[in-house]
């Protein structure tokens, strides 16, 4: 079973939720071999259960699961093969640290452009892909795990060395 986990965190990102539940994206997911879509919609407007049931019925090989919040998203990320996320820096770091494939969709209505900066810098280094609400389906279709540069493990000796050195504990 291949799982995709979509998360908007604590934000409201109606356009992303809408895009993910659109025929284009669902089709792209299903033709990439995904069999389960888990969507954490946060404060975004989503579909009601009847609409969802109707949608699910039209995609026989893709189970769709939508909910608003959970105490920890760690389990969901762990089980996912692909994560699609708003460009929140905490989520980016968490997902990359777990070695998961990540597509970020920056929210154009937020004026917090340093999140965009982080996403751009990491795309440039090949650690993740970025998409817009409009291009999400094609980015999913073109997602190739072998082209992603693995995110380096955290090097804990760096900070430890830095502190020891600054306090004069090392030669």
């Amino acid at each position: 079973m291949r799982r995709v986990f979509v998360t908007v965190g604590s934000t409201q990102f109606d356009a992303l939720v809408q895009a993910v539940l659109s025929p284009d994206v669902l089709h792209a997911l299903s033709s990439k071999g995904f069999t389960r879509l888990v969507l954490q919609s946060g404060n975004s407007a989503s579909m009601n259960s009847e609409q969802l049931a109707l949608l699910e019925a039209s995609y026989s090989n893709l189970a769709i699961d939508v909910w608003k919040f959970k105490a920890s998203l760690e389990e969901e990320v762990k089980e996912a093969d692909l994560v699609v996320s708003h460009a929140g820096s905490g989520t980016i770091l968490e997902v990359l640290r777990m070695g998961k494939l990540l597509i970020v969709v920056p929210n154009p209505t937020l004026l917090d452009n340093h999140q965009q900066e982080l996403a751009d810098a990491l795309v440039e280094r090949g650690h993740l892909r970025a998409a817009s609400v409009q291009s999400l389906a094609s980015v999913i279709a073109g997602m190739d795990a072998s082209s992603i540069v693995p995110f380096p493990e955290v090097n804990s000796s760096r900070f430890r060395g830095l502190i020891d050195e600054r306090l004069g504990f090392t030669a």
Binding site: G88, S89, G90, L93, E94, H114, Q115, E117, L118, D120, A121, P152, V154, N155, S156, S157, R158, F159, R160, G161, L162, I163, D164, R166, L167, G168, F169
Partner: protein, 231 residues
Amino acid sequence: MLYLGVLGSSVALLLLLLFRLYSILPNPRRTRKNASSSTYRVMIFLGSGGHTTEMLSLVSSLDFDMYQPRSYFISDGDTLSAEKLRAMEAKVAQVRQGRKPAYEIVFIPRARRVLQPLSTTPFTALKSFLHCLRHTFHTADEPAFILMNGPGTCVMLCAAIYAQKLVCFWRQHTPELVYVESFARVTSLSLSGKLLWPFADTFVVQWKELADRLERRRWGGGVLVYRGWLV
């Protein structure tokens, strides 16, 4: 005559304070507390959310035998940070075969709550400052360093440390102020980074782009450190 005397001594006091401020501002050449004891008290600010996650990741890499006791400062009501912290300390203690972790948690009032009007901010900021002052004042066991990475309330903590530096001129050692800018800041500083830039003895950034930009803008101050990603 009395008037002149008051004026004269006020000017003298002001000059003295200014000189004192100048002498306590970050200076890379100043000698540091050296390895004269085996353990060092440290203070760590946990700023909630992503700040806490990054900070705990940094702290967990330190030598807990050497850097203890650890005082963690958490904003009032931020129970999530306290939970994450306890989990981290317990995990490290487990790795170190159950040696008792030596730490305390200090809750401090927020300098400004989300959506709080600006007009009442000076009062809440003062309350926060006084609280920080009370809990950072150590007459005997002076902390070796204080670690922070934003946001807001950590500025009060910095102010409390500086107030003590300003007044307590007889102290031989004052804590090294270490500020670590977030992994999320690629080319520009956060607001707390901007505010603490002149005051931090060690200012750490995690992106080369940002380090280069700051290097071009510096005017003395503390030591700018770039060692790549730390979290």
